[in-house]
């Protein structure tokens, strides 16, 4: 499996959101997309799954242009995990996860579909929730249900939009561990938009740092998450520490703005 994203451009009305974005990704690789609000992280994720149609550029999955695929066919190859939204349409967890089988089934859910759902629920350790309504779940449980739904699609690529944004630290680690294991064991490639630089550095093989729709830096966590890059992209002064060979970012203060109104003066 190999995913190639080449020169993607996307704009809403005439406001450009993405400019000349290129990515390459192989099986069992985990790629994080970081960047400030409005940098185009979520838009990029949505363009790759053709939830949004990029105006220019090409996305190849195993040398096949995904534009040529029908939406159902693409859904067999790519799974998308949305940010846990507060308002969801009530359904039981089982039915919500069964929905992931939609691209594979004709109308009747077969025994195989049911087995796949049970298998995934077990893998994520949420079997006990199977008959609960999803609107009764906590943010962390809901995120696991969304991951389960995407996994029952049996995708080759997983796309995640800020999977940890509403979770407490325990659930953040649980969810990231689950994703990491799936990527390693099932040979799936994952791309996730993420805000937390420390989680990104700890869990990803490679990081892309975006700023106003463009890729600012790309590479392994050490080379991307430098104090200088963080300063230029986020406007934040930060220290970078190493612990156990992993990199930790400690944000210090916003960089003083030109007008002299930065947080600096307030301290």
């Amino acid at each position: 499996m190999k995913l190639i994203v080449k020169d993607i451009e996307f704009s809403y009305a005439s406001v450009p959101i993405l400019k000349e974005v290129c990515i390459e990704l192989a099986a069992s690789e985990m790629l994080s997309v970081v960047g400030p609000n409005g940098a185009g992280k979520s838009t990029l994720i949505r363009c790759i799954d053709r939830i949004l149609k990029p105006q220019r550029g090409i996305i190849l999955l195993d040398e096949l242009d995904i534009k040529e695929l029908r939406q159902m066919e693409l859904a067999k190859k790519m799974g998308y995990i949305p940010q846990s939204t507060s308002r969801v349409f009530p359904a039981t967890v089982f039915d919500a996860v069964l929905m992931g089988r939609r691209p594979h089934l004709w109308w009747r859910a077969s025994e195989r579909d049911t087995e796949k759902v049970l298998e995934t629920l077990q893998m994520l350790n949420i079997e006990d929730l199977a008959m609960r309504d999803i609107d009764e779940l906590s943010g962390g449980q809901l995120q696991k249900v969304f991951i389960a739904r995407a996994l029952t699609q049996e995708p080759e690529v997983l796309l995640l939009d800020e999977p940890t944004s509403n979770l407490d630290i325990r659930h953040q680690l649980e969810v990231m561990d689950i994703i990491k294991n799936i990527v390693r064991e099932n040979g799936i490639a994952a791309i996730m938009a993420i805000h937390d630089l420390n989680l990104a550095s700890r869990y990803s093989d490679r990081i892309i740092m975006m700023n106003s729709g463009k890729i600012f830096a790309a590479g392994n966590p050490d080379s991307v998450l430098t104090p200088d890059n963080i300063k230029q992209v986020y406007g934040v002064e930060a220290n970078v520490h190493y612990n156990d060979g992993k990199l930790y970012i400690v944000p210090l203060r916003p960089v003083k703005q030109n007008g002299g109104e930065g947080g600096h003066n307030l301290l």
Binding site: D49, Y80, V88, F89, A91, T92, R102, E127, M131, R149
Partner: protein, 360 residues
Amino acid sequence: MTSSTEIISGTRTKRAEIKEEYKKFIGRKILFIFSSLILIFIIAGISTTLGSYPITVTEVYSIIWRGLFHNPETTKEIVVWNLRLPRVILGILAGIGLAIAGSMTQGILRNPLASPFTLGIASGAGFGAALAILLSKGIVGGEYLIIGNAFIFSLIPTFIIVGLTRFRRATPETMILAGIAMMYIFSAATTLLMYFSEADAMKAAYFWMVGDLGRASWDALLPISIVLAGCFFPLMWKAWDVNAMGAGDETAKSLGVNVERDRILIMIISSFLTASIICFTGTIGFICLVAPHMSRMVIGGDNRFLIPASGLVGGALLLGCDTIARRIIAPVILPVGVVTSSLGGPLFLYLIMRRRREYW
């Protein structure tokens, strides 16, 4: 070794448990669908016996049975076959159609308040009928002009909304707002029309809009059954996709659903179904809003089961209301639209208050 075997058998039993529980969950939904079907037959049996001409239940069934092979001859046979049966069947079919159209419209617009009427269908039909009633006074075959006009005008708001989605994305918000705008435009046009018309015609136009099964005849049943059958299967086919839309447009797209195209397609089918019913009955309100909610309260939102369930609940509800409308102050027969709203409203309020969980 033993411990790992235990773990494996443990997960096996757990899976079997969930599977069993899920089967029961599905079983309950199917049971509800069959109960609603039986309920319709019971109400239909009772309804056919009621009327100014007394006929017992057993007589009704033997008359219906004999009528399948012979033309009705006796008074009783004529009353059952030509007066009561068409009305009962029209009540059932109209209820089924309106409720199905309602549940699908709520599904695609992800809005519990939506119904085909929210998209302006009723106002369009009302205007078309009023126009025909005012123009056709004294014209032979005016009846057909009203039906035809109501049908055509009821679909105009739908086509305008479809046209607008060429310029704006077909999001639920756009469609609902456009529908409401359409509702106001056509209501105003109808009011203007009535303002300049004579009292008799105005009364006729007004009562057309309340909705009534009094115009039932075998002639009307044929086109309605054909349209109902023709719409039911494509809507059932799309049940999965509407379920997916319930999880949000983005998720639905990632599951392979062509959200915008399907939303417009389902809206057109639902509108067509509604239009072909209300052009015969007038705008019977409330069924398309209430029946889907009642069914959802019992069996949940899975459209694979919700479509048949809400259809049958709608059929039973409309037939029940019409039976009451015929008998409550007999020999005067009330328009059924009055009963659906005045009885359905309080019943619905009661159900909302006593529900145990959020079903939407």
